[in-house]
Symmetry: C2
Subunit: 273 residues, 2 copies
Amino acid sequence: MKILFVFAHPEQRSLTGALRDVAIKELEAQGHEVRLTDLYADGWKSEVDRADFPLLRPEERLKPVTASHDAYAQDALTGDVKAEIEKLLWADALILHFPLWWFAMPAILKGWVDRVFAYGLAYGVGEHSEKRWGDRYGEGTFAGKRAMLIVTAGGWAEHYAPRGVNGPIDDLLFPINHGILYYPGYDVLPPFVVYRADKLDEAGFAPIAEDLRERMRSFATIAPIAYRRQNGGDYLIPSMQLRPEIGDPGATGFALHVDEGKPASRTLISAVG
Amino acid sequence: MKILFVFAHPEQRSLTGALRDVAIKELEAQGHEVRLTDLYADGWKSEVDRADFPLLRPEERLKPVTASHDAYAQDALTGDVKAEIEKLLWADALILHFPLWWFAMPAILKGWVDRVFAYGLAYGVGEHSEKRWGDRYGEGTFAGKRAMLIVTAGGWAEHYAPRGVNGPIDDLLFPINHGILYYPGYDVLPPFVVYRADKLDEAGFAPIAEDLRERMRSFATIAPIAYRRQNGGDYLIPSMQLRPEIGDPGATGFALHVDEGKPASRTLISAVG
């Protein structure tokens, strides 16, 4: 497969950096072709602003959604964004690799999403009518491609467990996995999560690196998270509510959007002892 | 009260900008003192990097957690970050106002959190032992202060409903409300959310502005979200798991971290027709 690997850590010599090298080396050993976007090394600009839309006239109000639509339609995005879009369209798969800061992506990676996931590319795709609400959540530009997160977290695995104080890791990552990756069509693989990353030493690194290699070996074949397709029959249209018969009566929460009846893989946790 | 209002939108003439002015004017009319951090206007730097830690020697590896600890302890953070910390310590309350982009904060606001919420200020506070896991989730530097989100979203309210395809808005905002605001001690008020913001015209603006004024009038008195305090008896220590008797057997998800037995207020939704 052709894989775009997006990396977001300010220190090349970090654990996150070492794991990146392990992952890419193993993917290449498996015959995959990998291109790397190293956001800090590239000096990526994080903020969506007027400079992103060269066609916008000085007196014109910046409406980010409209400006994104117009710039993408007219091939008038900035060069750095266009280069990332070219890589996304080239790739069969996307890996986002980052440290979990405040239960979310670092700003620089969020800025990559905010700027690169343009209207017409990653949203605003397909027919919008009373019968259909666009091609999203399992359909869209990236349908048929795979995506996956590699995440290093400072805290303890127990604190991210299903009943841990931070909230379950799969729920914390849902806005990314479901909202950013599944939305434009990717099949989202269960994430690879390393806990207590700040405490990791060389002895602890080896088994984690081996877990990551193993995951990279199955990257092309592992079953994705079984999110429900928006247009697959589980949601009412156009209200986009789950059909009443899905889940227990009155049940809510992210887990309802996963079809437990489908085969799926689990989040792989690699924790320092 | 003294209120720090952090605003993150690239267009002053946006709906978000107009709502900001409505909110601040009403808060001041109620006798509150408001200071504004306008991230785009200030040219805020979003990325955590070496430049944030002037004491770090060139050959030294950047470990963000350690560097944050050392710089905060030695009063050696950069001037822009120190100015924000001074405002946070001055204020009795914090309001974050932003458009929801890809189900999360814009990068520039995430970068404000990543850089300003230093070790020793917002995390790494209090005793860490077998008997206590720090002052966090209801305790910490900002205990006794209030915080609240004002959010504009492009999508429809139904899609963010408890069974909507995007996931429930309260769950989507949990990583911010619980993970960023409650963690360092704030009492977190239910958010004010505006849907279909991109479609808003002048006729639609007036009722939303009135809803927002009403919410600002009750800002000092409304009950916060009833999150469970980490050290309040609901979690086992040190595993930080919810006690087995809390919730239905096997229940998981963010909602478990809210004590339904406590009085609380609800998310205020102000949707365009």
